[in-house]
Symmetry: C2
């Protein structure tokens, strides 16, 4: 797929804000991933980065991004680690998010994940959620790989 | 407001499923609380219960409720503790969710919160997220009360 095609698809899928250059839509969006994002990805020299644009729909009563919106993004970032085996279903066992600074409407929020441990079918990962280099949240997750059900 | 009026308002606000008897809409829905819920409340003999109906929009790629949807509900349940002082803004500092069993489209999911500690402007709370008496998730939160900005 051409970069131009990806950018057009990204723009079409996100009427609520510009998508920064280099980002493209995730290969698959779940229903809740779509309404709570949509989330885009970029593969750069420093590895894979996921991002979404905060808009009015993401806000809480305080006028900043809802903790649930950032927690959902964190869950998506944590679950999309580079070495993920997509022949299995990866379910979240535990999700922890530390909220350090607020995100506001218009902010482009980025997430980077690092796998910190594996033990059998259990995987541990941590993520940094940032905006313009400023740390908004740190998240850690415990995941379990389940076999896919037969068709 | 009459119970009939509340029930009508609840039904009108939630085209995606029936609201069980006794539930009424929360006094205020934030934009993200609305799209990730909407969430209803009931005050019964055992205290306050919050609830929402899982629908197609809440699902992940595995066809069950997205971890982010349950985490958002948990954040709302935890932050709506009974003794909350609404003259302040309560922000989430840390949210942890343990996912024990999946929720499916059509499930009515309930949440109950207990305040487990307070220290100055910091509050600790735990929540149980259930469906028909079955434990789906446990959540714990650390919250901080901030003064409201002057008008």
């Amino acid at each position: 797929m051409s970069d131009r095609g990806e950018a057009a698809a990204a723009a079409a899928a996100s009427p609520e804000g510009d998508i920064p250059p280099g980002y493209r839509p995730l290969a698959k969006w779940s229903p809740f991933g779509l309404i709570s994002g949509p989330v885009y990805e970029q593969r750069g020299p420093d590895g894979r980065v996921l991002g979404f644009r905060v808009s009015e729909k993401h806000l809480n009563l305080g006028g900043v991004a809802h903790g649930g919106a950032l927690a959902t993004f964190a869950d998506i970032v944590l679950g999309q680690f580079e070495a993920r085996d997509y022949s299995t279903v990866t379910v979240t066992v535990r999700l922890t998010v530390d909220f350090i600074a607020p995100a506001r409407a218009g902010d482009w929020v980025e997430g980077r994940v690092e796998v910190t441990g594996e033990s059998g079918d259990i995987l541990f990962a941590e993520a940094a959620i940032t905006c313009r280099g400023r740390l908004l949240a740190r998240a850690s997750g415990v995941f379990k790989a389940l076999p896919r059900k037969r068709g």
